[in-house]
Subunit: 81 residues, 2 copies
């Protein structure tokens, strides 16, 4: 049986989001004139062979620490399905 | 008052996800040996000055069509908060 680790990695509050700023600018150039702000983040949907939800969560946590997130600038959120 | 448009843009089923494949390879090199697959997607959290939920949804739909998603390869999902 498999579990799906849904990991959302985004920038911490206060960290500049250049991609979000560019999307905002582009949308404004396209005529969207009521935009207050744009934040971007990334989702990794990782399917693993694992039965135990707690172990899956621990594994996701390790993946973030070792590869997916940079603790200086990123925050992350883990959901298991 | 503002609404938050949460737009998730991912690759359609059957479209190769090179970033996901690379993440899978890297995780395996780091010792995670039970990975079945990795899919990546992107979240845009766009705050707009808008009261009406229906109008906000329509605006998000237009943003996807005009900028955020490429209909050939991407599918998207819109949530309004």
């Amino acid at each position: 049986m498999t579990k799906k680790l849904i990991i959302r990695v985004g920038l911490k509050d206060g960290i500049t989001d250049p991609e979000g700023a560019n999307v905002k600018k582009s949308l404004e150039l396209l005529g969207f004139d009521n935009i207050v702000g744009v934040k971007t983040s990334k989702i990794f949907e990782i399917t693993v062979e694992e039965l135990d939800e707690e172990k899956a969560r621990e594994e996701a946590e390790n993946m973030c620490k070792k590869l997916l997130a940079n603790p200086v600038i990123h925050s992350y959120e883990i959901n298991i399905e």
